[in-house]
């Protein structure tokens, strides 16, 4: 029997300051590489790790790097509480702690052969970024793929360099609320970009992130596109302590976000009382 509450040691190998409160952390295992599953993935896009600092605790954070990468993982950390503040104080070379990956992840095999629409805003990019990395590797297996990404200002668009790379493989529709003078792209709501999307709604799936843009995305983009609630996938955020379905903090309705989630189809969570 193993002590599943004890994390493993990881080492920070890269830190990118993405905005005042958001940093990207790349880390590697102290010893060896991340284990791959039968499909050659180190995690399923949509899964998360319990990332932390010794003595400060840990937080559930979605993995952003490519699931094919086994030498490192990347997460985005927004500074909000004790743990994320402690993570922000780390420097390259410092130790951090990792447990996981945990959770279900997107039902990626069921996405194959379908059009995929991904909607994200601000900080909600990580699980979608991992999904895009996954899709790009097997691009021919998917139909038309769209990323709709909205941010407050051009500076708030995370991972700009990656967007350029992804743009060679998938359709990216960017929009900002407050453009800078140099901004050449779309201004306004993500939902205004619906007209630019061409998919077969009966053979499409969608993903969306993060509580803010979620309802707007649902009401004004995905439903109008004709995608059914059962094919719209959402990643939920809940308080977590154990990550393995014991402590009861992350429950929603009849399920544990840490093991049955964090990814749900919209129909599932719509019925939950909490």
């Amino acid at each position: 029997m193993k002590n599943l509450y004890a994390p493993i040691r990881a080492r920070v190998t890269r830190i990118e300051e993405l905005s005042e409160n958001v940093r990207l952390f790349r880390f590697k295992k102290d010893r060896g590489r991340f284990a791959k599953n039968h499909g050659g993935l180190t995690f399923i896009p949509g899964q998360f790790v319990m990332a932390g600092v010794w003595g400060y605790g840990e937080s559930p954070i979605g993995i952003l790097s490519s699931p094919y990468e086994d030498s490192f993982m990347e997460i985005l950390v927004r500074k909000v509480g004790v743990v994320t503040n402690a993570l922000h104080r780390l420097n390259v070379g410092d130790e951090m702690t990792i447990r996981g990956p945990y959770g279900n992840g997107f039902p990626i095999s069921s996405f194959e052969g379908k059009d995929v629409v991904m909607v994200s805003g601000g900080c909600g990019i990580p699980p979608i970024a991992a999904l895009i990395e996954y899709i790009i590797q097997k691009r021919e297996r998917f139909g038309r793929v769209y990323l709709l990404y909205g941010a407050a200002t051009p500076e708030d668009i995370l991972a700009r360099k990656r967007l350029d790379t992804w743009g060679r493989h998938i359709n990216i529709l960017l929009t900002v609320d407050h453009p800078s003078p140099e901004w050449k792209g779309h201004v306004g709501l993500v939902s205004e970009m619906v007209k630019d999307i061409e998919i077969n709604p009966l053979n499409a799936v969608a993903t969306m992130c993060g509580p803010g843009p979620m309802m707007t995305a649902l009401e004004r983009i995905l439903r109008p596109l004709g995608i059914s609630d059962r094919r719209i996938y959402v990643s939920l955020e809940r308080k977590m302590q154990c990550g393995i379905g014991k402590c009861q903090h992350c429950v929603t309705g009849d399920s544990y976000v840490c093991i049955d989630g964090p990814v749900y189809n919209f129909d599932e969570i719509d019925k939950n009382w909490d």
Partner: protein, 261 residues
């Protein structure tokens, strides 16, 4: 692990009180010595002979600021400190000095010292009535383990957190019969835990010296208390330590007025 290379400069001050919370600090014994490896106490009237007024990383204040000198010193300490922490209920909520009744006091002053007497004491209000306070270590007296916990959190750069649970947690662990069930008033359910439920274990009620717990259901407790105590008694419980809390003024007082009306 993150360690501060430089020792934190600490000042420990006391205003009007019994100094019992400082005794608790001393009774940390070995743990106090461990703490001294990480901090430099530059000012502690009760604990050392050589003291200086410096800039402080951390100031602990015990006692209630009653005289103008104390109030002025409090304001000066606020200016000179990064973290200012109330230490014990007299500092955090007014404590024992704040039990006094202003009107009664004026009457007795007049009777004992005569009308010419000018009292030095102005009022007995918690630190927060005068300055911004970063954290409150409640307790009459403070609990040793809680001092250590808050110090550990400060030293490791965390924002100290209040206990989210009630006195009832440790009270049940102690195997105490519940006072409320036995028809005896108790403020345990709305009071922040961490005290070890020592009062109830010793046969006394909980008067809430650890401060009101986050999102406490005070109306619910008042409904229970109503069934076992008259208005004066409930009032007495809530004014022992909690008179200057937001909850007392916004929930308990209006409740009492409604009950009267």
């Amino acid at each position: 692990m993150q360690r501060e290379a430089k020792k934190l400069k600490v000042g420990i001050f006391d205003f009007t009180d019994c100094e019992g919370c400082q005794v608790k600090l001393v009774s940390l014994r070995e743990r106090l010595l461990a703490l001294l490896e990480r901090v430099e106490i530059v000012n502690w009237r009760l604990g050392q002979e050589k003291n200086r007024m410096d800039r402080f990383d951390l100031v602990l204040i015990e006692g209630c600021p009653i005289t103008q000198d104390e109030i002025d010193l409090l304001k000066l300490l606020r200016e000179r400190s990064t973290h200012l922490i109330g230490f014990g209920t007299c500092a955090t909520m007014g404590g024992i000095p704040a039990i006094m009744d202003q009107k009664e006091r004026a009457k007795w002053y007049n009777k004992i010292y005569g009308p010419q007497y000018k009292p030095r004491g102005i009022d007995s209000l918690p630190l927060t009535s005068y300055v911004k306070v970063d954290f409150l270590i409640h307790g009459c007296p403070v609990d040793e383990n809680e001092i250590v916990r808050v110090m550990e959190e400060l030293l490791s750069g965390k924002k100290p957190a209040y206990r989210g649970y009630s006195v009832c947690f440790q009270c049940k662990l102690a195997g105490n019969p519940c006072r409320l069930i036995n028809g005896k008033p108790c403020l345990g359910p709305v009071t922040q835990g961490g005290c070890g439920a020592i009062c109830v274990s010793g046969g006394s009620p909980c008067y809430g010296c650890f401060g009101i717990r986050d999102t406490a259901q005070i109306e619910g407790l008042l409904d229970i208390l109503k069934g076992m105590a008259d208005k004066e008694e409930i009032e007495r419980y809530f004014t022992m330590f909690l008179r200057y809390t937001k909850e007392y003024n916004e929930i308990v007082r209006p409740f009492m007025e409604r009950e009267n009306g």
